[in-house]
């Protein structure tokens, strides 16, 4: 079971709780996780990655524990701790506000 932590703005948009638990069988890659997340919460489609290019939105990053995995390819395996559900995949937003 893969766990995902969304930023507050996307939690309120989607109605998701503090942590989303995806069903077993989701491919442990960025693409697999985002496909499953968008299937469960269609309103998130286009908010984390561009719907046309599927590129990660530039003000967002993906963290697994202390590791920034943003620049790994969409089909690169996520760290074992994320795949096993030990650590969540955390979607982090750039800070704004000065």
């Amino acid at each position: 079971m893969i766990r995902v932590v969304l930023p507050a703005q996307l939690r309120s948009l989607s109605g998701a709780g503090p942590e989303v638990e995806l069903a077993d069988g989701v491919a442990p890659t960025q693409r697999g996780v985002l496909d499953a997340l968008e299937a469960r919460y269609p309103v998130l489609r286009g908010t984390i990655r561009d719907p046309q290019t599927e590129r990660r939105r530039p003000f967002l990053r993906f963290f697994a524990g202390q590791e920034d995995v943003s620049l790994a390819g969409p089909d690169a395996p996520l760290p074992d701790a994320v795949a096993a559900g030990t650590d969540p995949l955390v979607v982090v937003t750039a800070i704004a506000g000065g």
Binding site: G46, I48, Q52
Partner: protein, 370 residues
């Protein structure tokens, strides 16, 4: 008794203001989509409880929300604005080619004849249409494929398509783009021609060029589609042939820079603008917020000041932030970058603030309800 519903888009959410026909006391609901930029909110003229909102945020891209109960509850609809085949670049500020990239929806224009039909004007400039209430969108690529497309260049706010004026049958459509100009189609959006003859912009290398004009907004009276009024970057303009030719009507305005223009509901030659000092000073001259009204179709203007701040006021009124209801006498509504929404229930003679402390107002629309 009739009532009005004012739809306000702000930098941090949408608000719905309601009042009875007296337009004195206001109920405010919102923020809807708090924290998100809402560039535009607009309702269907024929199914008024159906309202769309363009919700976006730099972090998360574009969403479109629809309400079927007059703005009380909302549900997301389609947010995929995929450009069709066409030019892949436009000019960047420095004149180099720049990829045509979707940034956001600036304007939503519901049809006056079909509650499922609406258009969206987007940045980078493109015109999209939905015939299923916003669930899916398709570009009308003939606009960008018009031969001048690759030469279009953004204004400071971006290369945005911000004005959409479709006729009731959807055949004739006039759109405006900053900073490209006005374009008109007579075949439902398949083919387009620039509609800019008579425009003159001194910042251009060729001031009367066919494209490159920073048109801020265009308005018309629904009963007189051939007569268009334009607030250009500088100059207030009028066309009597549906946009093919224009003449200046700035007349005795204190400055002809500004963003908004709109037309009286019952007097097609009564026009309103809000003069702004200049392109570098986006606030009213002398710190006095004044709406100007022409009852002669332009050239002769009178200031409307009663109830508006006449000192120390340095707000702006953005291009989609002036609206007119269809009661008699008609009401006017405008929002400011300082968060005020001002209302006049008597054609602009007197004003009061319906609400004073909203986030920066990006757009104002009004629905007149039975």
């Amino acid at each position: 008794m009739s009532s009005v519903r004012v739809l306000v888009g702000t930098q941090k959410g949408a608000f719905v203001l309601t009042s009875d026909g007296a337009r004195r006391d206001w109920e405010v609901s919102g923020p809807h989509f708090g924290g998100w930029e809402v560039y535009h909110v607009k309702g269907s003229p024929i199914a008024p409880d159906r309202v769309w909102a363009a919700q976006s945020r730099g972090w998360f891209g574009q969403l479109v929300q629809r309400s079927d109960d007059g703005g009380r509850t909302w549900a997301p609809v389609g947010n995929e604005f995929l450009y069709a085949d066409g030019p892949v670049t436009h000019q960047w500020y420095d004149g180099t080619p720049h990829p045509w990239e979707f940034a956001r929806v600036w304007h939503l224009e519901p049809s006056t004849s079909d509650p499922d039909l609406l258009w969206a004007g987007v940045e980078d400039a493109g015109l999209f249409r939905s015939s299923d209430g916003g669930t899916t969108w398709e570009e009308l690529p003939g606009l960008r494929n018009q031969e001048t497309g690759p030469s279009w260049q953004p204004g400071a706010g971006g290369l945005c398509l911000h004005t959409i004026l479709p006729d009731a049958d959807g055949k004739r459509i006039v759109v405006a783009i900053s900073a490209a100009g006005v374009f008109r189609s007579d075949d439902g959006g398949d083919s387009w021609r620039p509609a800019t003859r008579g425009l003159r912009s001194e910042f251009l290398p060729v001031p009367d060029a066919e494209v490159g004009h920073c048109v801020h907004h265009v308005a018309r009276h629904p009963d007189r589609p051939d007569v268009l009024f334009m607030q250009k970057h500088w100059d207030v303009m009028r066309s009597d042939d549906g946009g093919w030719t224009w003449r200046e009507i700035s007349g005795d305005l204190p400055t002809d820079f500004g963003f908004v223009v709109d037309v009286h509901a019952h007097e097609p030659d009564t026009v309103y603008v809000v003069p702004i000092t200049s392109d570098s000073e986006h606030y009213p001259p002398e710190g006095a917020l004044r709406v100007y009204r022409s009852r002669t179709g332009g050239d002769e203007w009178e200031p409307l000041t009663r109830g508006l701040p006449q000192r120390d006021c340095y707000v702006n009124v953005l291009r989609d932030a002036l609206a007119v209801d269809s009661l008699d006498p008609c009401g006017l509504y405008f929002g400011t970058t300082g968060g005020q929404v001002y209302v006049s229930a008597d054609e602009g003679d007197t004003w009061s603030a319906a609400v004073r402390d909203l986030p920066r107002v990006l757009s104002v629309e009004v629905q007149t309800l039975p």
